[in-house]
């Protein structure tokens, strides 16, 4: 038979005590990072601009102001272009369901989401101004794509698995990037991509393109073979 380790022996207690201490230190570090991150965001110039931004929604929208709406319109068109591959954001707009309105409605219903958009637009423009001296909307399409790709590369770089010292350094650098706005801009792009996909791929415009039948209920799929 196998040997059962003494769970309540002195060795067991010592090991559990050490595990608990490690756990406490880990939790404390997590808490400290959270607090530092919140501070980095709070004192960042992005936050000051967010606080002073125009609060009136663009006519026809529930919450996005003119600057936010203009930037998001460009962004969703870059994320889901109407091109040779098939329909995209502008086709959805033509069908009377513009992505901007869907995003606007969802943001208006959720204060946290609303704040994320406000901060994201300011941060993205700040990052772009530092590099091009202009706002995102004033760049040409090729420049805009370059900006988005560089944000993607940043994200890939951050999520790449590497050594423990590199991870510690990266977490420290995030505090700085939270302050400059780059971290917020990277998060913002992936949020808008996710939200745009959710709206686009739950719409018959994309289903027709993909030759997808639509919701599984109430009828199910009587035939198991593909339709075409």
């Amino acid at each position: 038979m196998h040997q059962v380790e003494a769970g309540h022996g002195s060795i067991g207690i010592e090991r559990r005590r050490r595990a608990a201490v490690r756990h406490y230190i880990g939790s404390w570090l997590k808490q400290a990072e959270r607090t530092a991150s919140a501070w980095a965001v709070a004192i960042s110039p992005v936050e000051a601009t967010v606080r002073s931004r125009a609060m009136t929604a663009r006519p026809g929208l529930a919450c996005f102001n003119a600057e936010e709406a203009a930037l998001l319109e460009i962004l969703v068109d870059l994320i889901l272009p109407s091109d040779d591959t098939g329909p995209g954001a502008s086709d959805l707009a033509r069908a009377g369901r513009p992505l901007l309105h869907t995003l606007d409605g969802r943001a208006a219903a959720e204060p946290r989401r609303r704040a994320l958009y406000a901060r994201g637009v300011v941060a993205l423009n700040r990052v772009v101004r530092a590099r091009f001296g202009r706002a995102f909307s004033d760049l040409d399409r090729a420049e805009q794509l370059t900006v988005l790709r560089s944000l993607d590369e940043r994200r890939a770089h951050w999520s790449a698995a590497n050594s423990i010292p590199a991870r510690v350094l990266r977490r420290a650098s995030w505090l700085y990037y939270r302050w400059t706005g780059l971290y917020v801009a990277v998060e913002f792009l992936s949020t808008v991509v996710r939200e745009a996909f959710q709206a686009f791929y739950s719409d018959p415009v994309s289903w027709q393109w993909l030759q997808y039948d639509g919701p599984p209920m109430p009828g199910g799929y009587p035939g198991l073979e593909p339709r075409r």
């Binding site: 196998h2 756990h23 406490y24 994320i79 272009p81 591959t85 209920m217 799929y221 035939g223």
Partner: protein, 536 residues
Amino acid sequence: MIQRANQREADVVVIGCGAGGGVLAKELAEAGLSVVVLEAGPRYEPQRDYRADANSFEAEGRARFMPDDERHNRYSTPPGKWLAFNRAKGVGGSTLRYLGISPRLHESDFRVRSEDGVADDWPITYQDLEPYYTRVEYELGVAGPSGAVANPFEPPRSKPYPTAAHPFNAASKALKRGADRLGLHLVREPLAIPTQPWHGRPACINAGVCYVGCSISAKSSIDVTYVPRALATGRVEIRTRAMAREIVLAADGRARSVVYIDAERREHEIAGRAIVVAGNAVETPRLLLMSASSRFPDGLANSSGLVGRYFTEHLAVFTYGRFAARIDPWRGTPSGGFMQDHCATNRKNGFARGWTMIVTNSWHWPQAVAQRAGGWGTDHKNRMRQLFGHFTGLCSNGEQLPDLNNRVTLDPVERDNFGLPIPHLTLDTGENDRAMIRAIGARQREVFEAAGALEIWSDGYLPGMASHYTGTCRMGNDPATSVVDAWGRAHDVPNLFIGDGSVWVTSGCANPALTISALATRIAEGIVARFRRREI
């Protein structure tokens, strides 16, 4: 503040209403016992809660079965270790989420040590459990293949499957061509989704929504099968959103009552002549560990030190392939057949035990595929067009060997929404496991190659993603090396029983729900016999 005003004694208090607890409630009540079931989650109403007819069905489905307060499902892992702990809380338990895959364990699974010299034997045999398997299959209306298309690796059965097997969809057929070429047996897996009307429920209509809730109740989850039968006896009361926090011992060393917290955070106490814990292989040891007392300083019923030990899962390796033809995997059941050719120990492998390979046709709806396609812009759309309706996957139930050091403990710091210590999950792979993981990936790739896939990729082994957790209160004849006896009764506490996957000794390579229910049926029979003999 414990409310003792509405304290009431039941014959049996069952904690948890899933594949174990729901079955126990029905079996105990039909034998004449009164039962109170404490379920931590809510009761879902399929027609109201599982609608999948709106354009937003996919996002709604993703959010389904999540607790109102996300802290309710918290758990922690050692630093740097990632582990998915998937389960659903609610009447029906994780069968709310399961795909209905209902194979039996094989005969050799009960005598692993005798056959392969690793792990341990169960205190029961396949033959002991066979009649209970049959009873559960007929309750659920399991659909399975017979005759020429039957699974050649299936253990002996006393009765045929209650309903005929599901057909293959185009995605499964594509993989079957590869399996046939390799001489493997890709057959329809037994599914707890009847193919004809069963006990008042309609037959499956191939909507493929099993994972997000079946609005017509064609999937035989416990809440639409055993629970209505349990309630029909008039002797069962199910208290939902009731989170058990402690089992209290009486002076004579027997379990006296359960203290639980309701949705309004009030505490209640319910006494029972017998108490059955069936929370799953994580929540059950968690509750026993939270119920430590002067008599059991290391956790209730834990004189062996094994409560929470031998935490075991199925090794889930995922491989995908893209085909030139359109194969529309979303049509029909999300699980699309399986191969048990590799279940038995193969001396050539250089490791013990084996695995089942399952065709996974789940999450092929547009949003899920868009996520997989990744990126944005024209590149994303090109990839989307390439993938959508053109790829499918194989996953696996690899038999992980039980390891004393894989365990469930109480987190010393973190708390859930009720202020209870969250479970801390340690699960590492051993040498045998890692060799098996490599072999599974290689065999999966061969199937896709033989099937003519244009492109093959793998997610590798994803810890916890099989969602099959077992072993943390193992059964056995020796109180020094097991927590419960062959009838699920705690060695240390004569009226305390465990009725879920925690009691498994080894994990086999069969999806666990059917075996959990069969064991629960048998454990219920043991409890009833003890009541009849007036031992409880």
